[in-house]
């Protein structure tokens, strides 16, 4: 059915899964605060949070299968939203599952940590639904404020507090840019609705009004910070290293995916007419992020920091899809996001397993000879590393992710062949550190006196092996995932004009 968002009851129904998650999270928050902090209570709240996510996923599948739509108003009801929500919920599920065991080991007893993940996820779902810059702003803040707290969740660790402070200051700074960009776009067009903005831009006889161009630029800076694309990436490595590892995994996958989802929607639905103004900056942002992320990752000795720089490089790869600005670009974007989320989550889960209390043993040297003591873990880590690199067959779905990005870049309306070449060259560069991890694990002997690796809990093991099997299985049969991502696109601006009522 088609929701008429002017009617409050239909607007509520259009937000069904989001409201379900928010209501459940608030009840869980009360329950989390009800009892004194203890490991048992923390695990109970975590288990309830996992159940809530599963229920929300069920609601999501039901909504997606009914083929709902909306033609007006501030909320998007389309497959792009459901697909993005699914990625966020998977990320949240993984983060809470890893968090239950990690928090027990690190003695992070407040049960709220799991509930905050749920709050952040509800912000992401609002972001995926936003078809109005006002909702974009609210969604970003709903997500970010919860994640600022999560980054500092380990109150005994000065590193965690420092990471949280840096994340907060730079995140708030970025919000300022985003908000000013929104204000200027509102000033130039008189509306904050994405479709109305694109109609207004299409009406202009001369392409870019200065106010609109500056607004677009500021918006780009704001999003650049939020997705950690170089040169706006400097917070990412510190925050990723300082935060508790399950939260790092959550930030590197779900938070980044959420910022990118709304980035793509705003760019595809509101600003295609501004292509002349944003094309070159996005091009350079992508190229610089790919180069800087991969180049600096080469010199990292700490695996968490290495993965942080690798995630900056992956922001660059995803920006190629944004620069393509085509429907093929958006479908490649979703495909890549799934591949990246799986591999990245798995890699962080391995980092949690190898580390010991106090987040020690995160250096590359601690991975030497892992194959001789924990062969299963070493094989899983190798799969994740090769997948992030985009290696064929052994890297599973990561290879196809890069492949579709390249195809989208080459077939884009404005040809991106040079950017595709940069993508390939920087991927070759990335082999320098991804393959190095694999080499250390398999070809080096386990050093004398190396710390013993404690047996990991069932949930952590489950995340590692589910992620590894998903990466490999989707790599063998990528066609289902491609069909799924092709069916889940943001509305093309040309299609809107014919299917919606004329602007007032």
């Amino acid at each position: 059915m088609n929701f008429d968002l002017a009617i409050p009851s239909q607007l509520t129904r259009a937000l069904g899964p989001d409201l379900l998650l928010m209501a459940g999270a608030m009840v869980l928050m009360l329950w989390a605060a009800w009892r004194p902090d203890s490991d048992k209570h923390q695990r109970a709240v975590g288990a309830a949070s996992l159940a809530l996510i599963a229920v929300t996923m069920g609601a999501l599948f039901w909504y997606a299968s009914r083929g709902f739509s909306s033609t007006n108003g501030v909320i998007a009801v389309d497959n792009f939203r459901w697909a993005a929500d699914l990625i966020f919920l998977l990320g949240a599920f993984g983060a809470i599952a890893l968090g239950m065991e990690y928090n027990a080991r690190e003695r992070i007893l407040p049960a709220e940590s799991h509930v905050l993940v749920l709050f952040a996820t509800s912000g992401m779902m609002v972001l995926a639904a936003a078809r109005d810059l006002m909702i974009v702003f609210l969604g970003i803040e709903l997500m970010s404020v919860a994640v600022y707290v999560l980054a500092g969740m380990n109150r005994r660790s000065p590193k965690s507090a420092e990471g949280s402070l840096k994340y907060f200051l730079l995140g708030a700074f970025a919000t300022g840019f985003l908000l000013y960009g929104i204000a200027l776009i509102y000033g130039a067009t008189g509306t904050t609705n994405l479709w109305d903005i694109s109609r207004k831009v299409a009406e202009w006889t001369f392409p870019a009004r200065p106010m609109m161009a500056v607004g677009t630029g500021l918006l780009l800076v704001g999003f650049g910070f939020k997705v950690a694309a170089a040169p706006f990436h400097m917070w990412a490595p510190d925050v990723y290293e300082g935060a508790p590892t399950p939260i790092t995994a959550f930030m590197a996958t779900a938070v980044k995916a959420a910022a990118f989802t709304t980035f793509v929607r705003v760019w595809m639905e509101a600003l295609p007419g501004m292509g002349g103004a944003w094309f070159a900056p996005v091009w350079w942002l992508a190229a610089v992020a790919m180069f800087v992320g991969n180049a600096v990752a080469l010199s990292q000795r700490n695996l968490k920091r290495l993965l942080a720089y690798s995630s900056i490089a992956h922001s660059g790869y995803l920006l190629v899809a944004v620069a393509a600005g085509s429907l093929a670009g958006s479908s490649a974007f979703l495909f890549y996001l799934v591949a990246y989320t799986l591999a990245s989550f798995g890699a962080f889960a391995v980092v949690i397993t190898v580390a010991r209390t106090g987040d020690t043993n995160g250096e590359l040297s601690d991975y030497e000879g892992l194959w001789h003591v924990r062969p299963g873990l070493a094989i899983a880590m190798a799969v994740f590393m090769l997948s992030l690199m985009g290696f064929p067959v052994f890297g599973g779905v990561g290879f196809f992710g890069k492949w579709y990005l390249l195809m989208a870049a080459i077939e884009a309306p404005r040809s991106l062949v040079t950017l595709a070449v940069v993508l390939v060259l920087t991927s070759v560069m990335s082999a320098g550190y991804y393959v190095n991890v694999v080499r250390l694990m398999f070809m080096k002997p386990r050093p004398e006196g190396a710390a013993e690796i404690e047996p990991s809990g069932a949930l952590t093991r489950g995340v590692v092996f589910t992620a590894a099997i998903a990466v490999l299985a989707l790599g063998l049969v990528p066609s289902r995932l491609i069909a799924w991502s092709r069916a889940s696109l943001p509305r093309a601006p040309q299609a809107q004009v014919t299917t919606t009522v004329a602007p007032k």
């Binding site: 500092g152 000065p158 590193k159 420092e162 990471g163 402070l165 919000t175 300022g176 908000l179």
Partner: protein
């Protein structure tokens, strides 16, 4: 009046940005961020004279969000103060590389 208000907003926003980039005290940086947000609020209010109430609604949202952010932000600053007994970013440098 519109042009003057927008110009003042741009100047205030720039002062905020310069403050964030040059100051090293976490609390002053945070104040500069608040200045940036309020400069944007001024723009929204001025523009709503042209386009109707949407800009003013946005200001209410922005203020609510800024209040939530302030609560979380000050708590984070207190948390780090407990560890290092300073809020000067030059002395907070465990993470680097």
């Amino acid at each position: 009046m519109l042009v003057e208000a927008l110009a003042l907003s741009a100047v205030l926003f720039s002062i905020g940005v310069i403050g964030v980039l040059t100051r090293r005290n976490a609390i002053i940086i945070f104040m500069c961020v608040e200045l940036m947000l309020n400069a944007v609020n001024l723009s929204f209010v001025a523009l709503s004279k042209l386009y109707g109430a949407a800009g003013q609604v946005f200001v209410v949202f922005t203020m609510t969000v800024a209040a939530a952010e302030a609560a979380v932000g000050l708590a984070i600053i207190i948390a780090i103060f407990r560890h290092v007994k300073t809020v000067n970013l030059q002395n907070i440098n465990l993470l680097k590389g």
